[in-house]
C-alpha cells in the first residue's frame, strides 16, 4: 500500500482532513503522516518536516503528497530535494486538499498503485462539480471499461444512497475481485462509471430508491456482482434493523439495451434489429475441412471418378458465371475471374491425373491439386498471393459439389430465405442481398456485432445469440421477430398469416412531426427522382428535405439542357405545393462518378473532385442548374430551398450563396458533410440561410473510414461519439444563429438517433419515406428534454455501443 503525506499550513486543518478521510476506511487505511505548521506553532510549512513525513510513511509502492496551498507546495518540492531514496517514488499531487485526500485514502486502502491513487485524487472535485452543475463543458468521458459480461440492477435501500461511506465499502469490496465493474444510475441515465473510483461513484448521485445498474467483466465478474448485490441489499449496514424492508433481489438487466455486450449474459436469443420476417431457413455452410483418407480407387473406378471432377468443376464455373451476370462493377470482374479459375484446365488435369494415376478419390485429388497451386501462388507473393482465398473458395465449392453438399459461404439463392449462421464475417454481411435474405439469425454475436449493425442498416430483422440455431433443419419455415428475439419454428398457418400481415404493416405518419410535449420537428422525405415522389406523398412527408438531382445527369454523356432540367424539377416541386422542397445541386464524384465532371484517374475519389468541387472545373453546369431550379421554382408553389453538397470552407458557402443570389434564389443552404464544415458551421451559417447534415459522409470523413467497406461498418457508425460531436457542433451553431439545421443522412432514419438529433437542436429530419412512421412514432413518445438528455449522454459516451445504450435507456417512453 502506498503512503500518504499531508502538508498543510495548519496542523488542525491537516488533522481534521485526515480524520475525515480515515473515517471512510477505518484501521485498514494507508499510512498517513502529517507535516503541518512551522516551528513554534506558527501557521506555515516546513520542508524538513515534509521530508521527515515522507520518510515516515515511505513504501516501495510510493508516497503521495497532498498539500494545501502556497508555501506548502514549495516546501514539498524542496522536501523532494532532501529525500533522495531512488527506490521510493514520491509524487506531489495538485488535487484539492480535502476531497483529494479523501479520494486518495479510499483508493489507496484498496491497494491501488501510486498512479491510480494520484489520478483519482486529481479528479476528486467531480462529485461536487456534478452536484453543483459546474462540470467542465467538455465533460469527462466515462471510462466504462471493457464490455460488460454480466449486469445486475439493484435498488438502493439505505437512507442516503451512494454517499461517501457506502462508496468506500463498494470500492473496497470490489477491489477483492479480479473484475472490472461499472455502475450507472438508471434514474439519471448518465453513462456508467468505473466502480473502483470513489469520486466517480459519488458523482453518480444515486439516492435511496434509485436503481443502479452494475456491470462486471473479468474472471470473477459474477462473484464481484454478488458482493455488490449483498452490500446494496443490506443497505450498506445502514438499515434500521427493526423495520428492514425485504431485500430487493437482483434483477436481470433488460435486453438488449442495457449491457453493451458482445457476449450476452442470457442464453436467450437476442433481437438486435427490429422487424418481423417469415421464410425457410438456409444455413450458411461452415468452412470445408480437408477430405479424410480413403482407400485407393480400383483401376476401373478411376475413369468415372475423373469424369466427376470435370463435371463438378464445370458446374462450379458456371455457377460463378451466372452470379457474375447478376452483379455489376468490380464484383463482376472478380466473379468472372473466379469462374475461369474453377474451369482452369491445368488445375483440372492435375486433379484428374491424381485420380487416374494414383487412385485418389476425386475430392482428395482436387484438394491436393489446388493446394499445389496455392503454394505456388504463395511463393510468388504479391497479387498472386492475394488470390489464394479465391482459389480456396473454388476448391471448397468443387469438393462440396463432389460430395453432394451445399456450397460453403453465403447461400446463393434467388428465393426469399432466412439466413442462419454461426457468425457472420464483415465480408459475408457485406454480400447479403436484402431482396432475398429476409432475416438473419446467428449463434454468436451481440447487439453491436457486425451482423446487428449491418442488419439495421439494411432494415433486416436480426436475432443473435440463438444458441441452437444451427440445429434447426434446413428448409424449415421460421418466423423471426427481430424486436423480441423470438424464433417460431414450423409455425402454424395461422401464425404465418398473422406474421405476414404484420410484415407489410408500416407505422403510418400523420404528417406533423413533434415530440410528446409538442416540440415541432419537420419530418421530410428524401427524394431521388420524380418517380419517388409518390412514396413520399403516400407516407405523409411534410415536404422534401433532400431532393437529389443526380438522376437528371446519370446516363448522360453530357449535362442535360436547361429545359430538360426545368421540366424534371417542376415535377417534384408541383407535388408539394406550399411545402418545403430542398433541392441539392449536382453531387457527382466518388461513388457517383459522372463522365463529364469526374476524372477517372483520381487516386482517392472520396477525397477528390466531388460535390460542389465539380463546379470549379465546370462552373457553367452549376449556373445552368441554378437557372433551371429558379425557373422551376418560379413556376410552382413549393417553398424551394437550394443547397450545395460537399462544402468544406466558409468561402465556398459564400460563393454558392452569391451564385444563387445571382439567379434570384434566396433560400440558400449547404450540406455539412465534412468535419471542416461541421466545426466551422457557425461561420458558414453567417453566409447561408440553412444547413443540412449528411451524416453518411460526415461519419466517413470524421472516422477516416471508407463507407463502402463492410469491414469498417463499426467505424462508420453514426453513433460514434466523434461523429455525434461533429453533428452537435453543427446543430448548436444553428441554434445560436437562429437558422435551421436539419439532417438528411441515414442517421435521421434511425428512430433513436433521430431523437438524439432533435436533442442536439436539429430542426428537421429527412429520410427515406418508409422510415417516417417509425421516427414519428418514437418522437411522439418522448419529451424534448428526454431527447436533450439522450443527446448529452450519447455525446459523452466512450463508444458507439455505450452511446446507443445510454440513449436507449433515456428514451424509454415511460420516462418523463
Amino acid at each position: 500500500m502506498i503512503g500518504i503525506v499531508v502538508v498543510s499550513h495548519s496542523p488542525r486543518l491537516a488533522q481534521a482532513a485526515v480524520d475525515l478521510a480515515v473515517e471512510m476506511v477505518g484501521v485498514n487505511g494507508p499510512a498517513i503522516a502529517i507535516a503541518a505548521g512551522a516551528s513554534e506553532g506558527v501557521i506555515g510549512t516546513d520542508a524538513l518536516k515534509v521530508s521527515e513525513a515522507i520518510a515516515e510513511v515511505s513504501s516501495p509502492e510510493g508516497v503521495l503528497v497532498m498539500m494545501d496551498l502556497g508555501s506548502a507546495v514549495m516546501s514539498a518540492e524542496m522536501a523532494l530535494e532532501f529525500s533522495d531514496d531512488p527506490d521510493v517514488p514520491v509524487r506531489l499531487s495538485s488535487a484539492p486538499f480535502v476531497e483529494g485526500l479523501m479520494a486518495a485514502v479510499v483508493r489507496a486502502a484498496g491497494g491501488a498503485t501510486l498512479d491510480d491513487v494520484e489520478r483519482e485524487a486529481r479528479g476528486a472535485l467531480r462529485a461536487k462539480q456534478s452536484h453543483l452543475g459546474d462540470e467542465e463543458p467538455a465533460g469527462r468521458p466515462a471510462d466504462s471499461g471493457p464490455a460488460a459480461e454480466h449486469t445486475i440492477q439493484v435498488m438502493l435501500l439505505n437512507p442516503h444512497g451512494l454517499h461517501a461511506r457506502p462508496v468506500s465499502m463498494l470500492v473496497t469490496a470490489i477491489s477483492a475481485f479480479e473484475a472490472t465493474v461499472t455502475v450507472a444510475n438508471l434514474r439519471t441515465g448518465k453513462p456508467p462509471v468505473p466502480a473502483n473510483s470513489p469520486t466517480a461513484l459519488l458523482a453518480v448521485g444515486a439516492r435511496k430508491g434509485d436503481t443502479i445498474s452494475v456491470a462486471a467483466a473479468g474472471r470473477q465478474a459474477v462473484a464481484a456482482l454478488e458482493a455488490v448485490s449483498d452490500l446494496v441489499c443490506k443497505g450498506f449496514g445502514e438499515l434500521e434493523t427493526t423495520n428492514a424492508p425485504a431485500p430487493i433481489p437482483a434483477l436481470p438487466a433488460p435486453q438488449p439495451e442495457a449491457p453493451p455486450s458482445t457476449k450476452a449474459a442470457s442464453n436467450r436469443p437476442l433481437g438486435v434489429s427490429p422487424g418481423l420476417a417469415v421464410g425457410p431457413i438456409v444455413r450458411m455452410q461452415e468452412p470445408m475441412g480437408e477430405p479424410g483418407p480413403a482407400a485407393e480407387l480400383s483401376m476401373r473406378e478411376r475413369e468415372a471418378a475423373a469424369e466427376r471432377i470435370v463435371t463438378a468443376a464445370t458446374s462450379v464455373a458456371l455457377a460463378f458465371r451466372a452470379k457474375a451476370v447478376r452483379v455489376n462493377g468490380a464484383a463482376q470482374g472478380i466473379l468472372e475471374a473466379t469462374a475461369l479459375m474453377a474451369a482452369d484446365p491445368g488445375l483440372i488435369d492435375a486433379a484428374v491425373s491424381r485420380v487416374t494415376k494414383q487412385g485418389h478419390t476425386p475430392e482428395r485429388a482436387v484438394w491436393a491439386a489446388v493446394g499445389e497451386v496455392a503454394s505456388l501462388f504463395s511463393e510468388q507473393g504479391g497479387l498472386l498471393a492475394e488470390r489464394i482465398p479465391d482459389l480456396h473458395d473454388v476448391r471448397n465449392r468443387i469438393v462440396a459439389e463432389l460430395l453432394g453438399r451445399p456450397a460453403p459461404g453465403l447461400p446463393d439463392r434467388s428465393e426469399p430465405y432466412v439466413l442462419v449462421a454461426r457468425d457472420l464475417a464483415p465480408a459475408d454481411t457485406a454480400l447479403i442481398d436484402p431482396k432475398v435474405c429476409r432475416a438473419i439469425v446467428t449463434v454468436e454475436g451481440g447487439p453491436t456485432s457486425h451482423t446487428a449493425i449491418l442488419a439495421r442498416a439494411l432494415g433486416l430483422p436480426a436475432v443473435v445469440a440463438a444458441r441452437d440455431a444451427m440445429d434447426l433443419p434446413e428448409g424449415s419455415v421460421v418466423i423471426v421477430d427481430g424486436t423480441t428475439g423470438e424464433i417460431v419454428v414450423d409455425p402454424t398457418d395461422e401464425q404465418v398469416v398473422r406474421a405476414e400481415g404484420q410484415v407489410g404493416r408500416v407505422v403510418t405518419f400523420d404528417g406533423a412531426g413533434a415530440t410528446r410535449d409538442g416540440h415541432r420537428v419537420q419530418l421530410l422525405a428524401n427524394v431521388a427522382s420524380p418517380d419517388s415522389v409518390a412514396a413520399a406523398i403516400e407516407a405523409n412527408a411534410e415536404g422534401v428535405g433532400l431532393f437529389r438531382t443526380e438522376f437528371c445527369f446519370l446516363d448522360h454523356a453530357e449535362a442535360p439542357g436547361l429545359d430538360e432540367q426545368v421540366a424534371a424539377y417542376r415535377q417534384v416541386f408541383a407535388a408539394f405545393p406550399g411545402k418545403k422542397v430542398t433541392i441539392r445541386t449536382l453531387d457527382a464524384g466518388a461513388d457517383k462518378p459522372l463522365a463529364f465532371v469526374t476524372a477517372a484517374d483520381e487516386v482517392n475519389p472520396a477525397l477528390g473532385i466531388r460535390g460542389y468541387r465539380t463546379a470549379w472545373q465546370r462552373p457553367e453546369l452549376l449556373d445552368t442548374q441554378l437557372r433551371a431550379i429558379a425557373t422551376a421554382a418560379a413556376a410552382e408553389d413549393a417553398v424551394v430551398g437550394v443547397m450545395a453538397p460537399m462544402i468544406a470552407t466558409v468561402d465556398e458557402s459564400a460563393d454558392f450563396a452569391a451564385r444563387c443570389a445571382a439567379h434570384g434564389l434566396h433560400n440558400v443552404g449547404v450540406m455539412i458533410e465534412t468535419p471542416a464544415a461541421a466545426i466551422t458551421a457557425s461561420s458558414i451559417l453567417e453566409r447561408v440561410d440553412f444547413a443540412s447534415l449528411g451524416t453518411n459522409d460526415l461519419a466517413q470523413y470524421t472516422m477516416a473510414a471508407d463507407r463502402l467497406m463492410g469491414e469498417l461498418a463499426l467505424l462508420n457508425d453514426p453513433w460514434q461519439p466523434a461523429v455525434l460531436r461533429m453533428i452537435r457542433e453543427a446543430c448548436q451553431a444553428g441554434v445560436v444563429a437562429g437558422k435551421p439545421v436539419g439532417v438528411c443522412g441515414e442517421a435521421a432514419a434511425d428512430p433513436m438517433l433521430a431523437a438524439v438529433l432533435v436533442g442536439f437542436g436539429a430542426t428537421s429530419l429527412s429520410m427515406s419515406p418508409r422510415a417516417l412512421g417509425g421516427v414519428a412514432k418514437l418522437l411522439r413518445g418522448v419529451t424534448l428534454n428526454q431527447c436533450r438528455d439522450a443527446a448529452i449522454a450519447a455525446v459523452a459516451a466512450g463508444s458507439a455501443d455505450v452511446a446507443r445504450s445510454a440513449a436507449a435507456v433515456l428514451l424509454e417512453p415511460t420516462r418523463v
Binding site: S39, G44, T45, D46, A47, G70, S71, M74, S75, M78
Partner: protein
C-alpha cells in the same frame, strides 16, 4: 572603502545586518503584507533571521558553504510562509555554489548570488512582472554583474545592486500580482509594493551597508 573579496565575517555581518533591517522594518513589511497577503511577512522574516543568527552564534562555521547551508535550512524550518522555501533555496544555492571556502571574490560572490536567483526561480516559477521578490532580485543581480565589468570592487557593485533593488521594489507597486496569495486578490493587488520585493531590497541594503561601514 573598496573590497575585492568578502570573507566569512563580512558575510556573517551581512546576515546580521539583514536581520536587523527586517526586525527594524517588521511593521512596514507586515503592513505591506496585510494589504495583499496574510500579514505575516514581517514577523516571518524577523523570526527566520532571528533563528539564523541564533544558530550562527550557537555553532560557528568554518566555510562559506557551511554558513549558507545552515542559513537556508534554518529559514526553511522557521519562516513558515512561502519566503521560507524561497529564501531558504536562495541561501542553500549560494552555499553549494560558493563551496568550502573562507572567502569569496567578486566574481565568486556574483556566481553564488546568481545561483541563488536560479534557485528562487526554480522554486517559485516566477517571472519578471509577477510582482514577487524576483522583480528585485533579478535587476539587482544584473546591476551587480554590470558594476563588476568596470571594477572588481564588491562595495560599489553592492551599491549598484541596492540602487537597482529599490527601483525594482518600487516598480512592483503598479503591478498585478500573479503568484502567491496576493494573486487571489487580482486587480486589488495593484497599488501596493510587494512585501517579498521589499524584504529582498533590504537584503541588498544590508550588503551595501555592511561593506561601506568598513
Amino acid at each position: 572603502m573598496t573590497n575585492d573579496t568578502i570573507d566569512l565575517d563580512q558575510l556573517t555581518g551581512w546576515l546580521t545586518r539583514f536581520r536587523d533591517l527586517v526586525t527594524e522594518k517588521v511593521a512596514y513589511l507586515t503592513e505591506l503584507d496585510s494589504a495583499i497577503g496574510d500579514a505575516d511577512h514581517g514577523s516571518n522574516m524577523t523570526r527566520g533571521m532571528g533563528a539564523v543568527l541564533e544558530r550562527i552564534q550557537a555553532s560557528p562555521v568554518g566555510t562559506v558553504d557551511e554558513l549558507f547551508k545552515g542559513v537556508g535550512m534554518t529559514l526553511v524550518t522557521s519562516v513558515g510562509g512561502a519566503s521560507g522555501p524561497l529564501y531558504g533555496t536562495f541561501f542553500l544555492r549560494i552555499g553549494t555554489t560558493a563551496g568550502p571556502v573562507k572567502a569569496l571574490d567578486a566574481s565568486g560572490l556574483a556566481a553564488a548570488l546568481r545561483a541563488g536567483l536560479d534557485g528562487v526561480v526554480a522554486r517559485g516559477k516566477a517571472e519578471a512582472g509577477d510582482k514577487t521578490m524576483f522583480d528585485v532580485l533579478a535587476p539587482a543581480l544584473d546591476a551587480f554583474d554590470a558594476a563588476l565589468i568596470v571594477s572588481s570592487d564588491i562595495s560599489s557593485a553592492a551599491r549598484a545592486a541596492y540602487s537597482a533593488a529599490r527601483t525594482g521594489r518600487d516598480a512592483t507597486e503598479p503591478l498585478l500580482a500573479r503568484k502567491g496569495r496576493a494573486s487571489y486578490l487580482g486587480e486589488r493587488s495593484i497599488g501596493h509594493v510587494d512585501p517579498g520585493a521589499a524584504s529582498t531590497s533590504l537584503l541588498f541594503q544590508a550588503l551595501a551597508e555592511i561593506l561601506d561601514e568598513e
